[in-house]
Symmetry: D2
Subunit: 135 residues, 4 copies
């Protein structure tokens, strides 16, 4: 699937996410990148990007990666999510890059790196898994 | 500190969180419980409580627990966050109960159990750590 | 299954583990406890119980719990393992108590608390998941 | 520090580890690689590399990385360890490559990729953190 197709599937299946306006920028084998345009609602005190925003970015990138690899199996659900907070995220667009670690029959395992505002210093690192439906 | 004092500190320091209306229901040594009143914005397709809502609930409970134990050290920051998704969260208020695993000089380690709508079946289990400021 | 049956299954299927002499002390719905008798090989410098020993204890307890709940499905494999190190483990027998968080069709999710030498202060806390075979 | 210096420090400070014969193959800014020569004791039933062996490999690589970056601060201790099991590890030398995610004042955060027998397919992926001593 192309980035556009993945984005349409996500917007169709996940209206709330669609409204948040995140964009699937790139999908290719083993990789997906999404971007959430900056909005001041993303900030917590101290003018840093909030934890829930980082969570959403990582989860959206993982979802785009899963969707582009297993097709519109909208039943895939997050099983585990582990985030290490690395640096303060400065105000700006939030970019999340997901890389495939394993595509199994039961689980898809991925890692995600999050950056903000175009600064290449990682703000957070995530590993996570999605469980695939039992057929 | 009492639950009211913790809540006032959080609302003062974290206006965005305060607006979300979560309530610190109980704090005592080694324990904190918060509740986020239900709002349909919490749902994702399938009428289940969304991942970012669960993240926010867990992080708020950990923050309340840290605050009530180390005082208004608002510089404490999340270091690690590990969530296992257990069951679909049905629509309703979201309750997060945080229990202290370790209060060290550098790290506070906690576990959190999340339930929704009064159903005691856990929706998610979280372990997380907050790093304390270097003095 | 009883603790004895679980132990026999583990010893039959996992000769190396059997040799290490860990004992399945108790299994009941939602719970399993194992104990590894103390040996100085468990220590790392500073006279504290080593990380690999803690890992083995946690994994053995999770394995006993899975086995006692799903039967001799020896194909169940560890999917995720997350450990928070809490306190130094003093020399002594190592006890690991596993509690079931979720028994699903694809994943079994558990948490484990590890203590040493009879001291109730937890040395480490683990959450982990086992993937069940696709039928 | 060079790989040799790191290895000498580790062998001096951690006799038990030294005996296991793991070798620090390379250290450079942001990176460390170690190798554990194959021994049949590493296997569990099914002829795959055991979990405790993978844990030891990852922890050794993280320790070498920390040591080479912060000097002989032998007080640095593992705080969190999260492993995703990806593929069966075939018999052979075990290689663990650690990469620095963050070198902070309180925590060092790293990720580790483990392979076995020269096969580039990753067997496990780890993220972990070491807490640095409070000065």
């Amino acid at each position: 699937m192309t980035a556009e197709q993945v984005q349409m599937l996500i917007r169709g299946g996940l209206p709330a996410v669609g409204k948040s306006g995140f964009e699937v920028e790139e999908v290719r084998p083993g990789y997906a990148r999404i971007r959430i345009p900056y909005h001041e609602k993303m900030l917590r005190p101290g003018n840093v990007i909030s934890g829930p925003t980082l969570f959403s970015a990582a989860d959206s990138a993982m979802y785009a990666l899963v969707l582009s690899h297993v097709g519109p199996e909208l039943m895939a659900v997050t099983a585990n999510f582990n985030m290490n907070f690395l640096n303060k995220g400065r105000p700006g667009d939030v970019t999340a890059e997901a890389r495939l670690l394993k595509l199994g029959r039961r689980l898809v395992v991925m890692e995600v790196t999050i950056t903000t505002g175009g600064d290449p210093t990682p703000v957070a690192h995530v590993t996570g898994s999605y469980a695939l439906p039992v057929k």
